[in-house]
Subunit: 338 residues, 4 copies
């Protein structure tokens, strides 16, 4: 770490910082510059106490980290792309994966018809929420265990793999039993206890980026999962919260390129949450392909206007089919198959 001292720090004040750096386990190396002194603190920042606390000293102007804080998720620790095998469906290699299905599981008829439609259009993984995190307690909260039963039924009927969100540590076990990929939603992006408990199932985990989560924090949240010995992590960019009101969120497609550069893990894009408007979903999927995403997760509903949650961002069967066909030339251009 680098500790920057204020321009008029006295020799005694400089000495105090040097001593404190030593107490906290680093080797101090002062450098006297043109206007200010900086102290380089030599030591492994990921195992030592952080020196940011030194900011409380009046003679300290700032403390700058040098070392990256994430390890197991880093491209440096694993130079090759990781390919996650979800019961035969490979994510992160040359194949581009489409996950699709309703925002909420609403009924057997709704789920099975959607499963068949998205499979026909080329999806290999069925999404559907059984437990829904809703802003208001008066909104539809999902079918719960009955939803899981229906997802399992759809899996057996269609052969599609299943992804569904888990909201609670208390649900991890039975959700894991019914699904192939556990989804951690944006509101739980830094619910580290849920991440840890989900990690221990060994299942693949799709980790959405939090609404205002920096990319570094997103990588560090995944580090919690890898630190439990589970490296089957899929990052999912789903839009960040900004001042813009035309869209529900601002999809940060540069985060796809950055996550692929900093980490070896696959990156999925959620265009439905990413904009909150069905009419932009297809364009965002095109951007996702071009930016190097390994797959998409799209909300599809038989009749979005009457959906029990987030109808405004769900496409219908024809829309999803058109979207998938629209992506084909772009996939070819980037050397991907589906």
């Amino acid at each position: 770490m680098i500790i920057v001292l204020r321009p008029h720090a006295t020799p005694e004040q400089i000495e105090e910082v040097i001593k404190e750096v030593g107490i906290l386990g680093y080797e101090p190396r002062p450098i006297h510059g043109a206007h200010q002194t900086v102290i380089a603190a030599i030591g492994d920042e990921t195992t030592h106490h952080t020196l940011e606390s030194l900011n409380v000293l009046p003679q300290v102007e700032g403390v700058l980290r040098v070392q990256k804080r994430f390890k197991l998720v880093s491209r440096e620790s694993h130079p090759e792309d990781s390919v996650i095998d979800v019961d035969g469906v490979k994510i992160g290699g040359s194949q581009f994966v489409a996950m699709a299905g309703p925002c909420s599981v609403e009924s057997e008829e709704q789920l099975l018809s959607t499963a068949r439609a998205v499979k026909a259009a080329g999806a290999s993984i069925l999404r559907g929420g059984a437990y829904k995190p809703r802003t208001s307690p008066y909104e539809f909260q999902g079918l719960g265990r009955e939803g899981l039963r229906l997802l399992d039924l759809a899996r057996r009927e269609t052969g599609l793999k299943i992804i569904t969100e888990v909201l609670s540590e208390r649900d991890v076990e039975h959700v894991a039993a019914a699904t192939d990929i556990l989804q951690i939603g944006a509101r739980n992006a830094q619910n580290f206890r849920l991440l840890t408990e989900a990690a221990r199932t060994g299942k693949a985990i799709l980790l959405k980026r939090g609404m205002s989560e920096r990319i570094e924090e997103w990588l560090l949240a995944a580090e919690y999962i890898l630190a439990e010995g589970n490296s089957n992590v899929l990052f999912c960019e789903r839009g960040i919260r900004t001042f813009e009101t035309y869209t529900r969120n601002t999809l940060d497609l540069s985060a796809v390129a950055i996550a692929k550069k900093e980490s070896h893990l696959p990156v999925i894009v959620d265009p439905s949450q990413g904009c909150g408007r069905a009419d932009l979903v297809c364009a965002l999927c095109r951007g996702a392909v071009a930016m190097g995403a390994d797959g998409i997760i799209v909300e599809v509903h038989p009749n979005p206007a009457e959906a029990m949650s987030d109808g405004q961002q769900q496409v219908d069967f024809a829309g999803f089919d058109a979207l998938m066909r629209d992506l084909d030339p772009l996939l070819a251009a980037v050397g991907r198959t589906r």
Copy 2:
């Protein structure tokens, strides 16, 4: 709700929307304006299906809510200020409450010395983290149950009430046994399952605003707690995430005035998280008093430069004592006592 149709919607398209409004349980009332038709949908928006899903229809330009989404937390449902009684300490009335203590409980010596110091300076509630949500898995995660034991010891020694954070549904029961107020942190601000489980203990709950949570969402998160029959909720403004880098967060003091206007529940301000810098804590407490906050929660440590977490935003004993004395004239000016 109000459905705005696009300027060139055809009569058939308008009819389709009118019909759909009826199917979804509202009474449609079309109004033909100068350039566009709007349809007022009469019905209770908090019990009916939302009409936002109608945005998927190509002739719909937008859907606007009319009714407020929160009920039990609203000032309309309870015009008087609520006063929360925490085992004799009253929060929300004319008394201004100071909660103070270390970011993390580190040791018996550290906690007890801090407890005595903050009590002497005028605090009535001791804060201290036993379970810490840390951005990286390699950072200090808190003493856990040992931390709870020390908090309980400090309570018995000093008579201070205790507030500590709960991170996990699995911890709710034993954390509740050791504390007077359960704190829900910013990262769990919309962890609705944790909110619900914490609510059921009947304990007072301090609900921090999420990093990028709109005030409406914050009120709705509290609605989850009140809907469980627990109305002992304290809102806590702790800064929101913005582009500014001088401070760790941007403390939104206008949110204090807004929450007090929209809701009957008390509002506490956390200046330590709110700026992430010890040198600004006192100024922010002054602003909190002036804006009508019912209390503050301040991080205090015997030696911030060597704190095991967030030393840069903790004040020392002398600093906290000075801060409390600094607030007295302002408290008098706003008609509060402490």
Copy 3:
């Protein structure tokens, strides 16, 4: 417009609002809902006084706009894509346009070598700043008129068209004489007097989105130009300011799709400003192509490490050549040529 009254508004209060709506030139139509009254105000919102001022009345909960505020830039006013002809280079049709060149014009050698390199790689328009808006007064402010002379020289030598930024009304005339496209930068995105004066030259204008400008505001800023009778406007998405620190700005590629949907005018993407890092420029250009952009504007420098401004986001000649070749398969996939 729609005026939403508070739940317990009295008949007299409702009458007051109805009367005020009439005074302000709209026809009021009250609708009495389940819990609240709303008043639809019939009239052309773009010619009448806004009713947002009614928010000051205590019985008014909110005022909602119905009509879009922009006219001439809207897709409704001009359903076909506009193609802007810049002295023979057509922007907005099937051809994808590459604008490239140094952040700042530094010298004849630097500019001419770059002009030749970007032309060879496929650019048709040369960018280069002669007047630079710099955060600090102590940073390089550009060569001014000498920079314009060099741009003109490069135009004559290479046949490339020129784009350069104009910072001041006082410079509009002589900058317009030396350039084919006037660039309005992000810091002047709502400098309406500069927009108006630039518009009057009749030159094509590239209008960058402001750092925290909503898309609606960006469209309305362009409306200032079209209202002067100049419809040669190119929108330029260059990233918005968010909490993310990995990149200098967050490039909002969804804004490309939205601007193309709401307006008939071409949209250009600036990946250099959009991320502030040379290593991400190529990936962002790929996303721009896929999302439907009509062109890119890329910073290119002979030796970025020694550039006099923003070296960190400039690619070198080999990098730009590789980038252009990298885009070819994607351009083919979206049916564009270059």
Copy 4:
């Protein structure tokens, strides 16, 4: 500056950076750490070329500034508070200054009645917009020169000092002739040419913070004015743009404390723009006093519901009078008079 190299940089790569640091005019001092090498570059960062361009080298992970970028505005260059004398009204000392008046000058009757009312309530400076920067070209743009004439009339009638916004370099001269303080609005916060030209008049300048301007950038924009030899600058915090929608902007009161700490110049708060709602203006003024602001600038209108611009955020005469009386106990508490 500090250049951080990537963990696996080769000796040749390190040597390349060391050489480049020398070429760019700094003295390089390499420090070999536990995992990475950093190079301290000794030299005055405000006179030398920035080294941020070195980020383009693949072996460079980051470049960190050490020195502050602003000089003349800094507290270090001028440890005492600056007091700006506006024709006898002193801003920045123990007196708290109230500036008040309509958003737009609309008529002689409107302006004079407001001038008399705000003077009676305790304001010493009259605000009023003659040139208005409006989001849409179809909105009221201000009375222009006629507005300036009315402001001058109000000055002569009441003895109040005048503040009004200047939008254009072409207006600087005649606006300066009619006003005591030139206001630079948020949209022109980084319009450096306007700042420079306004500075040359020698008039006091109220510099609003841009909508998404970092505090450092705000200080550097003021540096442009001081670098012209005009040190009569008033900072004005007027809210920043965030995701929150309850208020038009998020007033950043911590910026008041920060600007007062980093700079010697006075800080004014604009609560009207800061929240965009008349009902919160008084609470925000209270916060401003407590946080150490040197004054407020408040929008006041005889009949806000019929104002020609921003009626929703203007208070009426009775409201302003109540607000001023409400501040008295707080002013006394912080040792200020008015």
